[in-house]
């Protein structure tokens, strides 16, 4: 089980490792949580434009390891996105996929 998990997570971890350690000679800037940077303590479901940044083209929620959002704000973000979906402000699945 552990082996299969390892092998499936390899592409992701490889990509991360190379960018962090700079094996390709590139040093990536550390991503920070946008909400912490802006000192925002609440994620509003009505700000659809803002939420769109954290949703993929297909309408899926982007994981925090990609966006750099901290755990606390990711939780708030997720509820906000789900609320926005309920009110048809954001799609569950975008038209391109349907």
């Amino acid at each position: 089980m552990a082996y299969t998990r390892n092998s499936t997570s390899r592409p992701g971890s490889d990509r991360r490792g190379s960018s962090q350690r700079g094996s390709s000679g590139q040093i990536r800037k550390k991503r920070t949580c946008r909400f912490c940077d802006n000192k925002e303590d609440y994620v509003d479901y009505k700000a659809e434009k803002k939420l769109q940044r954290f949703v993929s083209e297909q309408g899926r929620i982007i994981p925090k390891r990609i966006t750099g959002t901290c755990a606390k704000h990711q939780r708030m973000l997720v509820t906000a996105i789900k609320r926005a979906r309920h009110l048809a402000l954001l799609p569950f699945v975008s038209d391109a996929v349907k």
């Binding site: 609440y42 009505k46 979906r85 009110l87 048809a88 402000l89 799609p91």
Partner: protein
């Protein structure tokens, strides 16, 4: 218990194919229901017609309304029952605004109050205030 009031926010979508005055009556019914049950409307915002991200009841547009109010808890059950029975209301969402959300509101309101004051020219200010008054019924709800 009915003395305990909390701040709620409710957003609902009215069928946009109705006439404007029909939409207004639907909205007024909701507002009446809140005020008659001991609620107090703090903020009332009409977003207006918006396109949906996906069709609801085979419709692609809806009229969005956001009401922030303080009320005893039993109002929510009545409100949601009303939403459920009213066929011109397509979707609704009611939330309790916790301390954090309220704090975020007040800071946002303060920021919004500060910035136009610095940028808007004196002759434009009354116009902006009039516009704001049309949408926000009770600006005193936020400490300005």
């Amino acid at each position: 218990m009915p003395d305990v009031k909390r701040v709620y926010e409710t957003t609902f979508i009215v069928n946009a194919s109705l006439d404007d005055h029909q939409i207004d009556t639907v909205i007024d019914k909701v507002k009446d229901l809140i005020t008659k049950n001991g609620g107090e409307i703090r903020e009332f915002v009409k977003w207006g017609r918006k396109r949906f991200a996906y069709p609801i009841k085979k419709k692609n547009n809806g009229f969005y309304v956001v009401i922030e109010f303080s009320a005893p808890g039993d109002v929510i059950a009545k409100l949601e029952r009303h939403y459920f029975l009213d066929e011109s209301i397509l979707r609704y969402l009611s939330l309790v605004l916790d301390k954090r959300a309220l704090a975020a509101r007040t800071t946002a309101a303060l920021l919004a109050a500060e910035q136009p004051a610095a940028e808007v020219k004196p002759e434009e200010a009354p116009k902006a205030a009039a516009l704001e008054g049309a949408v926000v019924q009770n600006p005193a709800g936020a400490p300005a």
